[in-house]
């Protein structure tokens, strides 16, 4: 298995760093999946993660000037590594002004993703900095857990209000309750509600718009849903907040799919990066 990528363009480096930093705020550890065309940051929704799942997809050509990889074997031409994105983020942040940055899979004291960069200096010889981020190679028998999650049979699909606004609301609500209800309907309405013994608070959003139906792989095959009826999910507010805190870039499109009392599926689309985040409901 081999991997070597090189980023030369400053804007690409910056963008890549921001993606990795966002991922690092969402989870302490995740799987980096590499194939010849794309990179994925994957967190499979296991009980250990509190049921939260994440899927982030990047097209390598949009970031890397050079990209070479050889997967496990020709049939499984992919590499799956478990990594702490925080380390990767830290490494990338320090090399923002580099002339070029290389990311390689290496074997040092253990398998590592080595980020090495040439930094500009006053003298003729560049400064070379190397960061070795330890990784765990994931054996092929576990790869089935890392597939792209299929679009759930959602009840409602709706565009999100500006993330900053939601974040402000959620931040304040977090002080009052541990659980938040997200509800929305196919008529562009969304509410965020909390309820405790002492107080109940809800924030209403209108005219959000709904993505055209027929989007996504599997759709609800049952008779047309009443557009005014709300689908809701009750989630742990901290998980939602964690998702919002990490967002560094305004997405070009943001939407969420709700499966009534089951899971909320948040989707953020940037030009060259897509991020999906699943938060399960709590009783």
């Amino acid at each position: 298995m081999r991997f070597r990528g090189k980023i030369v363009d400053v804007a690409c480096l910056n963008h890549f760093t921001r993606v990795v930093t966002t991922i690092s705020k969402l989870t302490k550890t995740c799987v980096l999946r590499l194939n010849p065309d794309k990179l994925f940051f994957v967190l499979s929704g296991k009980v250990a993660n509190g049921g939260v799942g994440m899927w982030c997809e990047l097209s390598q050509a949009n970031f890397f000037d050079e990209y070479q990889m050889e997967g496990f074997n020709p049939e499984n031409n992919e590499i799956c590594l478990e990594v702490a994105p925080e380390n990767l983020s830290r490494a990338l942040k320090t090399v923002q002004n580099a002339k070029s940055v290389k990311v390689k899979l290496t074997k040092k004291h253990c398998p590592c993703l080595t980020v090495s960069a040439e930094l500009p200096t006053m003298s003729s010889i560049s400064r070379v900095v190397t960061h070795d981020v330890p990784v765990d190679v994931i054996p092929t028998r576990l790869w089935h857990e890392l597939k792209e999650p299929s679009m759930p049979d959602f009840d409602v699909s709706i565009y999100l209000p500006p993330l900053k606004t939601i974040k402000n609301v959620v931040d304040r609500m977090k002080n009052l309750s541990n659980f938040l209800v997200i509800e929305a309907n196919m008529n562009g309405k969304m509410n965020l509600k909390i309820e405790t013994d002492l107080v109940s608070v809800s924030t209403h959003f209108r005219d959000l718009g709904n993505p055209p139906s027929g989007d996504g792989a599997s759709q609800d095959g049952s008779p047309t849903r009443d557009p005014h009826s709300m689908a809701e999910v009750r989630v742990d507010i901290r998980k939602l907040q964690q998702f919002l805190v990490g967002q560094q870039v305004n997405p070009s499109k943001s939407m969420c799919n709700i499966v009534h009392q089951s899971v909320v599926h948040l989707i953020l689309l940037h030009e060259d990066v897509s991020l999906q985040y699943f938060i399960p409901s709590v009783a």
């Binding site: 380390n87 074997k107 590592c112 200096t121 003298s123 400064r127 070379v128 070795d132």
Partner: protein
């Protein structure tokens, strides 16, 4: 004693105090009287005898800092005649006098420092704009003299570099990083983070920076060496050096001997002495970061990144990672590694063992950084008298007679 600091020097003094606060909890104040300065310098020797010394040391005595201010630094400088005066003050109190450096710059015109011996106080009076006077009365305690013995002339390896280079280097390491290893060869300096535990090594991120000798104003290496010291303490000096735009000089002899970092200008000298880990390992040969491969830019050889050998090992028991040669207990007289190691040095070892208990919970267990360089000055105790005084080429002879 009376000193007056005016104008821009107030800021310099404030920054010096903030730097010292990164080292220890107490500020030792001592106006020097003698003709012999105990911090011998290669150049810019402050030979004028009456300078003011501000010093600090950390609890495990593995880091020491000293700022010497010549009389010219002050607009007025008079010291008590006759008896030696020295004291120590809680550094946090002094810091609170000079709390906000930015404000100081804008509002403070002068700073008076006066000794009030009757009440055991040092009075700091800040003369600010608009006739405002801020007076701080800080109680002091009498103290022993605190002087580290080091001889820069004996240090075969020395550098001088623009502080910006070091600040940029240090920026690559997380603020929480404790220790760094610096390895030098004829043309290069490598700085990497030091990971103590075997177990940590498999999880820790390793960072290494390679600097070419071109980046230094002065770069002399007599022997290829590595030395490991605490980065946190260095940062205090770097902040000071950068804000005053003074080049930083580093003096080093061999692992186990302390590394000395200093900044000087015509009226002031700052020295930071940091203990180094006594690992006798030569520049690492097992890693690809060995000296010879770094002479040129790392080649674009894809082949070296072959993972196949790892994959084969994956299903069988994985061989233990290539370890650094374990730090050996050297018989080097500079070495004092573990409490039970033979303390042939001139330190007061029993004193150190007691002090280890005093280490705060946030201090790393600096067992390996046993203080190596204090040749002074505590009142004689039963243990002291049995300590053999070893001859040590780095040391000056025993400190002055304290009577």
């Amino acid at each position: 004693m009376q000193c007056v600091v005016t104008g821009g020097n107030v800021k310099v003094l404030a920054k010096a105090i903030h730097s010292l606060s990164r080292i220890g909890e107490e500020l030792y104040v001592e106006p020097q009287k003698d003709g012999v300065s105990c911090c011998a310098t290669v150049r810019n020797t402050i030979t004028s005898s009456c300078h003011l010394a501000l010093r600090s040391v950390n609890s495990s005595r593995s880091a020491y800092a000293c700022f010497l201010f010549a009389p010219l630094f002050f607009s007025r400088y008079s010291i008590p005649n006759g008896k030696d005066f020295r004291c120590k003050i809680a550094i946090k109190s002094v810091q609170s006098v000079f709390r906000s450096v930015a404000t100081l710059e804008k509002t403070v015109e002068k700073c008076h420092i006066e000794l009030d011996e009757e009440n055991d106080r040092l009075t700091f009076t800040l003369h600010c704009k608009h006739g405002l006077l801020k007076t701080h009365n800080l109680s002091y305690q009498d103290s022993e003299s605190l002087q580290a013995m080091f001889d820069k002339d004996a240090c075969t390896t020395n550098f001088r570099v623009n502080p910006r280079v070091l600040v940029d280097t240090v920026a690559h390491f997380p603020p929480s990083l404790e220790e760094v290893t610096v390895t030098v060869s004829d043309e290069r300096m490598w700085v990497r983070n030091y990971v103590e535990d075997e177990t940590e090594r498999s999880k820790a991120m390793l960072t290494e920076l390679c600097l070419a000798s071109d980046e230094f104003d002065h770069f002399v290496v007599k022997a290829h060496n590595s030395f490991t010291f605490c980065l946190k303490e260095l940062r205090g000096l770097l902040v000071f050096a950068e804000s005053n735009n003074l080049p930083v000089s580093m003096y080093f002899k061999e692992p186990g001997c302390p590394v000395v970092l200093s900044v000087t200008d015509s009226v002031m000298e700052g020295n930071f002495v940091l203990a180094t880990l006594s690992d006798g390992s030569s520049p690492p040969k097992n890693k690809s970061k060995g000296a010879h491969t770094q002479q040129s830019l790392p080649p674009d050889d894809f082949m070296n990144d072959d993972m196949d050998s790892y994959l084969i090992a994956m299903d069988t028991s994985v061989a233990s990672s290539a370890a650094e040669p374990p730090a050996s207990t050297l018989t080097d007289p500079c070495t004092s590694k573990l409490p039970e190691a033979n303390h042939k040095t001139r330190t007061h070892s029993e004193e150190e063992e007691e002090e280890e208990v005093a280490d705060g919970p946030d201090r790393p267990p600096n067992k390996k950084f046993r203080s190596l360089f204090f040749g002074s000055v505590l009142p004689p105790s039963p243990q002291m008298s049995t300590q053999p005084v070893t001859t040590q080429e780095v040391l000056a002879s025993d400190s002055e007679d304290e009577s």
